[in-house]
């Protein structure tokens, strides 16, 4: 029987190529999208679960007293409101070095303590050649790292690879990069920041899997850190450096432990807590707590420094989009199949008179649906592999075809098979099977799809499409607005170069001068300046007591000509002047010139407008007590932190203890960039002795601040295009069937003298009304979702009626184009043919 059903199904699908094509295309696009989503989801959810100790591992977290503006980071919007508490945590992860050992000593249920301290970008010297390690790819860890975690070693013994202070374990990838095919174990290298120390490679580890939050290429023992002994003796809680992980004995009662930990914390951090509360009399009480985060869940909260953040909001959004596309494809199938009952009614009628029961008819239609879905899934699977790089690019995922295992495909495929089958197949099958056998006898008056149902489905489909079109327009408008946002400084044609020297290298201080000297000889370079930050990163924040409130204020060290270079204007007073030695000199302050228990700058400062207002517009050129410094000028506000947020209070000062971290190079207009970069690179090698050159562009650094929104824009755009294509294909097919259904009516009207244009209008009238209703439904939904989303931005566009008008017109136009082909054909057809009966 099944074989018979299959045979009929294949012939049926083949016979109606257009509908099969539409359904197949829609369903395979939808299933490709669904598969990619499922894959992405599977990858994100699998993070850090592969360690066999994962259940006993916890990350130690603390109340974040460094976080300056906690409230401003609050996420808004529909999806953010769904987030579980864990995704909203913004705890501090760095702990005093000695805390871990003290906890282990105090609590017998703690079996192991693992401290992890990420190091900054290391520069490795091997036989006179330098290699720069990628940022965040090196770490110092406790010696039993490879015993606690399941990171396999290719060579070396997990029990002792990190026992010596100068031992180091590198990844296979790095081993290959450093030594090619040679065995790396036993080889030595030096780091640029301490040329007296020789590290010996004692082990090579397999590259960490892609679903690991810890992603290191080079691992040192933490006991070998130069400050280790000092840090281990320091219980003043002034230095927060290491991420601390605790491994508990199996069966530990965590609730009980948490209670004990709280008592421990209040005692251990008593001084700190007292200090936090000393600042002002009328300030609300500051609290400090330690808490534990299960290791495998740690990646759900956006805390630094942690290797991976799974943005659940993003995932919810993606799932929603995938579901929308799946549903639109299924609605297509239902509409087309149901509308097709007219042409199938004869067959069903005949079958029933031949003795087919309801279950036979249902079975037959389900086989047909499932066959189509199976083909769609196979096509979707291939499509998924083909578009995977694109998907990665737009969604920010890191999927590879290797993740698409057979078992995944079978599992994902089975779920889609069942879900799509139920969504798309069941209803048409039951409608068809419920037809009376006599219906076949009637030629024109045969069963028609209840117009209410088909209209509702079309409206649901089309409202979703219009909602997506509106979202697409609003989001891209906002992003365009962000790109054009007046940042308050000149970001065009500016190259950023990192100071290549290590902090304690004396040459680091001289870099600025030497580089400036070189650039003055290069005609293509208009200007150069130096600073300790680049847009969005590299700041110190200090706690100042302003009006009895502790405020975290950004400190921006920069060179004398930074304002001139960046075309930032002054509101009041003056900027720093190279000819005034006092501008960079340290000041001695008397007791009443600064606030105890808060930071004081002790150098002349220029403040931005926001800070100036916060301070209450104090007079210039005299010591300001809250800042502990004289204010020599007030600058216009400019963005330096995050263009989606308000400009925070900040002050500028000149000079940097370790030399400026970045050189800013302004290229003259019309100069070919690659040539100049090559020239700078050639000079760089002679100037620094072939240290690596790290280069970026100022305007791209700015964009990084809202990269995740741009990614979201691309994702929505793709989803919108797919949804609209699928829905329009559905309308196209539907219009054909409507036209067929109305063949007789059209024929009669023509005989009565109706013109082609009036028939065309008649056939398209319904589409017009349905689009209009969809539009009316989509608008309030769009307003709700998009206003929520826009609250992520302090500077945002208004959603004006023009956007809705454009979206509505685009939707209407697409719908009319989709149906016009068949409407026109029906309207121009020969009435004699239409009215001919057998």
């Amino acid at each position: 029987m099944i074989a018979n059903y299959l045979r009929i199904a294949i012939r049926n699908l083949w016979k109606r190529k257009v509908y099969t094509g539409i359904n197949l295309l829609g369903l395979s696009i939808a299933s490709a999208f669904g598969l990619l989503m499922a894959l992405y989801l599977q990858h994100e959810l699998s993070y850090d679960r592969f360690h066999k100790n994962a259940g006993e591992l916890y990350r130690l977290e603390a109340t974040n007293f460094f976080n300056p503006k906690k409230d401003e980071e609050k996420k808004t919007g529909f999806f953010a409101s769904l987030l579980p508490a864990i995704a909203k945590e913004r705890n501090m992860l760095v702990m005093p070095m000695v805390l871990g050992s003290d906890i282990k000593a105090a609590f017998p249920e703690v079996e192991n303590v693992m401290r992890v301290m990420g190091s900054s970008d290391a520069l490795v010297w091997i036989n006179g050649e330098s290699f720069k390690m990628e940022d965040k790819s090196t770490a110092e860890v406790d010696a039993d790292f490879f015993k606690i975690f399941d990171f396999p070693l290719v060579s070396g013994n997990a029990n002792n690879v990190l026992n010596g202070k100068n031992d180091v374990v590198i990844s296979e990838k790095i081993a290959k990069r450093f030594f090619g095919k040679d065995n790396a174990v036993g080889k030595t290298f030096k780091l640029a920041n301490d040329s007296s120390r020789i590290y010996t490679i004692t082990g090579v580890m397999k590259d960490f899997p892609s679903n690991s939050s810890l992603k290191y290429e080079m691992i040192f023992p933490i006991a070998g850190d130069p400050g280790y002994i000092e840090d281990m003796a320091d219980r003043s809680n002034n230095h927060y450096k290491t991420v601390t992980l605790l491994q508990f004995r199996k069966g530990t009662d965590m609730k009980q432990f948490n209670a004990k930990l709280e008592t421990f914390t209040q005692k251990y951090f008593a001084e700190t807590i007292k200090g936090m509360n000393e600042d002002g009399p009328d300030k609300k009480k500051e609290e400090f707590h330690l808490s534990l985060m299960p290791f495998a869940q740690a990646h759900y909260s956006d805390s630094n420094p942690w290797g991976h953040f799974t943005n659940l909001e993003h995932i919810y959004q993606l799932i929603t989009l995938a579901l929308i596309i799946l549903i639109i494809a299924c609605v297509n199938y239902i509409l087309l199949t149901l509308t097709h009952t007219v042409t199938r009614s004869q067959e069903v009628g005949v079958r029933k008179t031949m003795g087919a029961g309801r279950k036979h008819i249902v079975g037959q239609f389900l086989v047909e649906t499932q066959l189509l879905i199976t083909i769609a899934l196979l096509a979707g699977f291939m499509l998924a592999i083909i578009v995977m790089p694109l998907f990665n690019q737009i969604s920010g995922a890191t999927l590879s075809a290797a993740d698409l295992s057979i078992s995944f495909f079978l599992k994902g495929g089975l779920i889609l098979f069942v879900v799509l089958g139920l969504l798309a197949g069941i209803y048409p099958a039951f409608v068809m099977s419920g037809m009376k056998p006599l219906s076949m006898m009637r030629k024109f008056s045969s069963v028609k799809l209840s117009p209410l149902l088909s209209r509702t489905l079309v409206v649901v489909q089309y409202a979703t499409c219009i909602l997506l079109i509106i979202s697409s327009i609003v989001i891209s408008n906002q992003m365009r607005y962000m790109n054009a946002l007046e940042l308050g400084f000149d970001k065009e044609q500016v190259l950023l170069l990192e100071n290549p020297y290590e902090y304690d290298d004396p040459q680091r201080q001289q870099f600025a001068e030497r580089f400036a000297h070189y650039t003055s000889t290069e005609p293509a370079i208009e200007n150069v300046t130096f600073a300790n930050f680049k847009f969005g990163s590299g700041f110190n924040m200090n706690g100042h007591l302003i009006n009895g409130q502790r405020e975290m204020i950004f400190q921006i060290p920069m060179d004398y000509n930074f304002f001139e270079f960046s075309k930032i204007g002054m509101v009041k007073g003056r900027f720093f002047d190279r000819t005034m030695p006092t501008d960079s000199a340290r000041l001695e302050l008397t007791e009443d010139q600064f606030t105890k228990g808060a930071s004081s700058v002790r150098k002349p400062i220029v403040v931005n407008e926001t800070l100036y207002k916060l301070l209450g517009n104090p007079p210039l050129n005299e010591i300001n007590k809250a800042m502990g410094a004289p204010i020599i000028g007030v600058s216009k506000d400019f963005h330096f932190w995050n263009a989606t947020q308000k400009i925070p209070p900040a002050y500028m000062l000149v000079g940097s203890r370790w030399g400026y971290a970045f050189a800013y190079v302004k290229i003259k207009k019309g100069q070919p960039l690659p040539d100049i970069i090559n020239k700078i690179g050639a000079n760089w090698n002679t100037m620094t002795g072939k240290l690596p050159m790290t280069l970026s562009f100022q305007d791209e650094e700015v964009k990084k601040g809202y990269e995740s929104f741009t990614t979201w824009l691309h994702t929505v755009n793709v989803a919108t295009i797919l949804a609209v294509i699928i829905a329009c294909m559905g309308l196209f097919g539907l219009s054909a069937l409507y036209a067929v259904n109305r063949t007789k009516e059209i024929g009669i009207r023509k005989v009565m003298g109706a013109s082609v244009s009036s028939l065309f209008m008649l056939l398209n009238k319904e589409v017009f009304w349905l689009t209009l209703i969809s539009f009316v439904i989509a608008v309030p939904l769009a307003l709700y979702f998009l206003n929520g989303w826009l609250e992520n931005f302090v500077f945002r566009i208004k959603i004006g009626w023009v956007i809705f008008l454009v979206a509505g017109l685009v939707g209407l136009l697409l719908a009319i184009i989709a149906v016009s082909y068949h409407s026109l054909r029906a309207a121009t057809s020969n009435p004699v043919k239409a009215l001919r009966t057998e």
């Binding site: 018979n4 009929i8 049926n12 005949v350 008179t353 029961g357 057998e838």
Partner: protein, 226 residues
Amino acid sequence: MLLELKNLYKWVNVGGNRNFLLKDVSLNVNEGEFISIMGPSGSGKSTLLNVIGMLDQFDEGEYNFLHESVHKLKEKQRAGLYKQYIGFVFQAYHLIDELTVYENIETPLLYQDVKASERKALVADILDRFNIVGKKDLFPTQLSGGQQQLVGIARALIAKPKLILADEPTGNLNSKQGEEIMELFKQLNNEGVTIIQVTHSEKNAAYASKIIHLLDGRIEKEEKLS
């Protein structure tokens, strides 16, 4: 007796008026009879045939088929009854276009859960008997009208029904093809199959043993032929 209709009424309500499709129809059909139903357009021929075939319902009266009271049965039981005992032949053949000749004939057996080997044997038999073995892999659209109707009759016969209901079986055929079909019916009737046909043609009606004349939904006269 094969079936018996007693004072059967069927009507539709149009704008408050009751419009009778069948009016007080009583009819006895014995096994082995060959009956023709005649009458002008709209006289209720097809309706009567559909009621007998249990494809359509009636509003009043009794219908007994092999001692089952059809008017008391549920739809599913009715379907079970006609599936087993009745074969249908249509004017427009109503073959399934997507199926080959062989598959079309096989379909009723599928719905009666006949085993595959048995199906094969039965279909082979009937193909042989109707001389259409060479056409078994063709699709209906590749056949002439007469051939299609032949397949339609083969399909109606495959499940060995007691009764064949034919609604103008020759209506779409030319006279020569029509004659062949009627000869076939005659032969089947001689083999013991009961046949009820609706026809416009006096000539075709004459093949039957009894002609029932309908007018405006009521039996005008019954005419026995020898």
